[in-house]
């Protein structure tokens, strides 16, 4: 298989570096934070208590849509230990309307409640229990309004409008309940469908789910009136972004007066990025009271208001010509965005650009509407719109192949570009480079024993067996509207030669900090044990965007590698002096510096550091007398990511791959058992294979929960009927298979420090499609609605005469 010269050159460089540095990159290093986490000595937000703190608790709406007539706080205020009760009116002087994409949020609603769980008032008390009891005593008088619980309701001519002010505002593009509209058209879609040999179309309904990080969100806001500075300790994925978000939401507080500190985070998955009502409210309360305010949500609050994945309806069409080329992809997305837009419009558009997946489809039309509904707002969630598009695309592909009478795997291969075709632009402007999905197809089909399971019927115990495939071509590291996708890093050494890397990321468990440590260690020729990551403090770490969109290791890691190089160059003259060699004969290896190729002439890092910090500078040459910096700094600014208009290569890079599952369906109950999974992705370079496996296994299990078990069950009045973990069943160790068939391809990305690409979100993307395709292989029945629970499956088995008693 031929590879581009650039790729080959990069591979050689990567290999050369690995030899020089004794290969910290590519090793399964243990988590840098693991010791404190396995001993229970980590510090999560609920473990933080600041002297003088008070506890806050929300009063939440009991109705999905209602005008607020009155909020009587007197009984709560009279309780012992209650400091104050605020409604939206009390909070008004401290805040501005805010929101990630549309200014449609206030931390406490003033005019109306828009979903069950909407924040209406907040209680501050001496302890959490008192605050909770007092919140129950706040009496809200409502005037019921009709509810909008789904996309059809939202678009109805007579639908109540959730945000009449925005609808009426000529400067904001909100129209009725349509929060945003998206339209991307490339090629000649009409012509393509007219001339096609086969056109398949279907309507797909995906489910509203909650990624449910096990740690509920929370914060401690601590305003210092003397300094006029707010310190927010929060379970949040993006410390530097939070400064901006909070300053937008809080009146009269500039970003320079905000410090964000991130403790250990008990999972994120995307729902801990934006500024939430608890963060804004606690901050305003701390400013008003001059006291630290702690506000940690409970699970019911997370289920009602913690935000999650959008349910979407996709009306989709796919066209193939006689030769099996996919010539047209036409999809309309109707997204139930919830009471606030949050990330919703971007979930349609960002994923829209890549919605054709790994296939070169010349004619595409992607349209979408984010619709306000009286349910919990959606947000960013691992996969960010891709699982929904993929669910539709991969099923339509198989339907079209069935009509044409061709093998869908052959059609997948035929329509996916080869490594030697790259670099190239996709029809929607995506910059495709250095990715080998064909190798992924081969490995997955081999691992899963594709041919043994495809079209084979039943297992020995009478289950209906099938195998199915899904693909991914996922964005990693997205261009911001402001125009950049970048992180900075500082690598420094103290007088003992101990190395720290400072970076604006956060650890939500994915291991980015450990990968970044490996990259720094690799560059400096030390072991990962000798490098400590410093993260999660907006005052201490250099500017960066945090952890989301699979950006941490590609953007932050590349910045850290550059910063480590910078430190090397700063140390090189002193190293040359101490080794008594030319600067170009200095090698960083073996835990210090040495003469290239001569381990006998070596100086440990500690001695080098000591010389730089304690030795008398008069003994050095003139150019080193005024001080030797023990610090390296760098910023990595993506030159690949573009601002789409509406075409364009939104992300720094793209991870390609595929996944297959084997399912057994019980014909007596309609239960689907996923008995085997195999996945292969082109990850560029596996910085830490063990952690990639962990991310991959976790993402797949999370997706299996979404496909087989989970969905938000709202009744017609907008009440959430399964808002506890008892009723909303998350997968346990008994519900998911062992996932060990993981075989990653490594075609390096020439634009990142070690060839690495995004990993964490990717494996989730193809799972719903693969399961549905496997079910179709087993039964011949196409399921287009998620989740695939027995109450959906069994009636269809009955209809098709496949039910057995």
């Amino acid at each position: 298989m031929s590879k581009s010269d650039l790729t080959q050159e990069h591979e050689q460089e990567t290999r050369a570096e690995a030899t020089e540095s004794e290969g910290e990159v590519g090793k399964s290093v243990n988590s840098k934070f693991g010791r404190r986490l396995v001993t229970g000595t980590g510090q999560f937000v609920d473990d933080i208590n600041i002297s003088g703190q008070r506890h806050a608790r929300f009063v939440r709406s009991q109705l999905a849509h209602a005008r607020i007539v009155d909020i009587d706080t007197s009984e709560a205020e009279a309780m012992d230990g209650v400091e104050l009760v605020w409604t939206g009116e009390d909070l008004e002087p401290y805040i501005e309307p805010y929101g990630l994409i549309l200014p449609d949020e206030k931390p406490l609603s003033t005019d109306r409640a828009r979903f069950v769980g909407d924040e209406l008032a907040v209680v501050v008390a001496k302890d959490r229990l008192t605050a909770t009891l007092a919140a129950e005593k706040v009496d809200v008088e409502y005037e019921r309004l009709d509810t909008v619980t789904g996309v059809d309701d939202a678009l109805d001519d007579d639908a109540p409008i959730l945000h009449p002010d925005l609808d009426a505002d000529p400067d904001i593009d909100v129209d009725g309940n349509i929060a945003s509209e998206y339209d991307l058209q490339v090629g000649d879609v009409g012509g393509a469908f007219e001339d096609a040999a086969v056109v398949v179309e279907d309507t797909f309904e995906t489910n509203k789910t909650n990624p449910t990080p096990l740690e509920p969100k929370g914060c401690v806001a601590d305003y210092n009136p003397g300094e006029q500075e707010l310190t927010l300790h929060s379970s949040n994925q993006a410390p530097h972004l939070m400064k901006e978000y909070l300053s937008e939401a809080l009146a009269d507080l500039a970003p320079s007066n905000i410090v964000v500190k991130i403790p250990d985070i008990g999972g994120g998955f995307g729902v801990k990025i934006e500024a939430f009502p608890h963060e804004v409210c606690a901050s305003a309360l701390s400013m008003a009271l001059g006291r630290p305010i702690k506000l940690v949500l409970d699970r019911l609050e997370e289920m009602q208001a913690g935000r999650g994945r959008h349910d979407e309806r996709l009306n989709a069409r796919l066209a193939l010509d006689d030769d099996g080329d996919i010539v047209g992809w036409d999809v309309e997305v109707l997204q139930s965005t919830g009471a606030h837009a949050s990330f919703g419009p971007a979930v349609i558009s960002s994923a829209g650009i890549t919605s054709a997946g790994p296939y070169y489809i010349p004619n595409q039309h992607i349209r979408g509407k984010a619709l306000y509904t009286n349910v919990m707002p959606g947000s960013a969630v691992r996969g960010f719109g891709d699982p929904q598009y993929t669910f539709a695309r991969e099923q339509l592909l198989e339907e079209a192949c069935a009509e044409l009478g061709v093998d869908p795997m052959a059609i997948r291969r035929q329509n996916a570009p080869e490594l030697e075709d790259m670099p190239m632009r996709s029809p929607t402007g995506i910059n495709w480079r250095g990715a080998d999905i064909h190798e992924c197809f081969d490995r997955v089909q081999d691992m899963i024993n594709w041919d043994d399971h495809r079209n084979t019927g039943r297992t020995k115990d009478g289950k209906l067996r099938g195998v199915g495939m899904g693909t991914l071509m996922k964005r990693g590291g997205n261009k911001k509207v402001a125009g950049t996708e970048s992180d900075a890093a500082v690598v420094q050494m103290n007088k003992f030669g101990e190395i720290t890397v400072l970076i604006g990321t956060a650890s939500i468990g994915q291991g980015t900090e450990t990968g970044i440590v490996q990259i720094v260690a690799d560059t400096l020729g030390v072991t990962s044990e000798e490098v400590k990551p410093i993260i999660g403090d907006s005052d201490v770490t250099p500017e960066g965007f945090g952890v989301w969109a699979d950006r941490g290791t590609i953007i932050g890691g590349s910045a850290a590698a550059k910063a480590a190089e910078d430190l090397k160059e700063n140390l090189r003259p002193l190293a040359a002096l101490m080794l008594d060699v030319d600067e170009d004969a200095v090698e960083f290896a073996g835990g210090g510096v040495r003469e290239t190729g001569n381990p006998n002439n070596a100086v440990p890092m500690a001695d080098l550091a000591h010389e730089a910090t304690f030795a008398n500078p008069e003994d050095r040459p003139d150019e080193m007398k005024d001080g030797i910096p023990l610090v390296g700094r760098a910023r990595f600014d993506s030159q690949e990511a573009e601002v789409p208009d509406p075409k364009g290569s939104l992300s720094h890079g793209y991870t390609w791959g595929c996944l297959a599952v084997v399912v057994d369906i019980d014909p007596t109950t309609g239960e689907i058992d996923v008995v085997d999974v195999a996945i292969s992705e082109d990850v560029g370079k596996a910085i830490n294979p063990k952690m990639i496996e962990g991310q991959t296994q976790g993402a797949i299990a999370q997706a299996l929960g979404e496909v087989l078990l989970e969905h938000y069950d709202y009744d017609g009045s907008g009440n959430l009927t399964n808002g506890s973990l008892v009723d909303y069943h998350l997968p346990t160790a008994k519900d998911v298979p062992l996932i060990n068939k993981i075989d990653e391809v490594e075609t390096p990305d020439p634009t990142t420090s070690h060839g690495q690409k995004g990993v964490g979100e990717c494996p989730l993307v193809p799972v719903p499609a693969a399961v549905a395709n496997a079910v179709a292989d087993a039964t011949g029945i196409r399921f287009t609605e998620l989740p695939l629970t027995p109450d959906r499956v069994l009636p269809r088995l009955v209809e098709e005469g496949m039910r057995e008693l």
Partner: protein
């Protein structure tokens, strides 16, 4: 029961005997976290579903969010912090770290103490036995495969020690 009623409990907590007078309504998880500063016992759901608050009561795993402190009077409690032997990690802790059986670490204390209890009863559990035993704990990060690997590794380590 009035809000001010108190109880006095005698417990052995991580090997240390202590007597505490508490509001009678105090949950076991609150006692551990707020009174004893054993914050490795986490609150994930407060409905006894997720298992992040699992501790050992006379050696058996229980969910401390769903019990009153009053119920442990006269008993022996072990939390995740009590598994260490001085500076030495418990084999289960060591295995969870080495096998990457934890990611964010929030559920980890519950899994670790629950797994430690399993290995006390069954020194060489099968995969189905491990799954059964851990089905009361939820992990959102790992997908469980490496948790099961970790328990198997810990079992091997403990057998080698014996």
């Amino acid at each position: 029961m009035s809000a001010t009623e108190t109880i006095t409990i005698d417990v052995t907590l991580n090997g240390r005997s202590l007597e505490e007078t508490l509001p009678a309504r105090t949950l076991l998880s609150e006692f551990l976290r707020d009174h004893e500063h054993l914050t490795g016992t986490h609150r994930g759901c407060e409905t006894a579903k997720c298992g992040a608050c699992t501790v050992l009561l006379d050696g058996d795993p229980v969910k401390s969010c769903n019990m009153l402190a009053a119920q442990v009077d006269g008993k022996e409690l072990t939390t995740v912090e009590g598994l260490m032997d001085g500076d030495e990690l418990h084999p289960v802790q060591e295995a969870f770290w080495d096998e990457h059986g934890m990611q964010c670490g929030f559920c980890t204390p519950g899994f670790v103490v629950s797994a430690a209890a399993l290995l006390e009863e069954n020194e060489d559990p099968t995969i189905p036995e491990i799954r059964d035993h851990l089905a009361g704990n939820i992990c959102r990060c790992t997908g469980y495969t490496k948790i099961i690997d970790s328990v198997q590794k810990a079992a091997e380590m403990q057998q080698e020690e014996r």
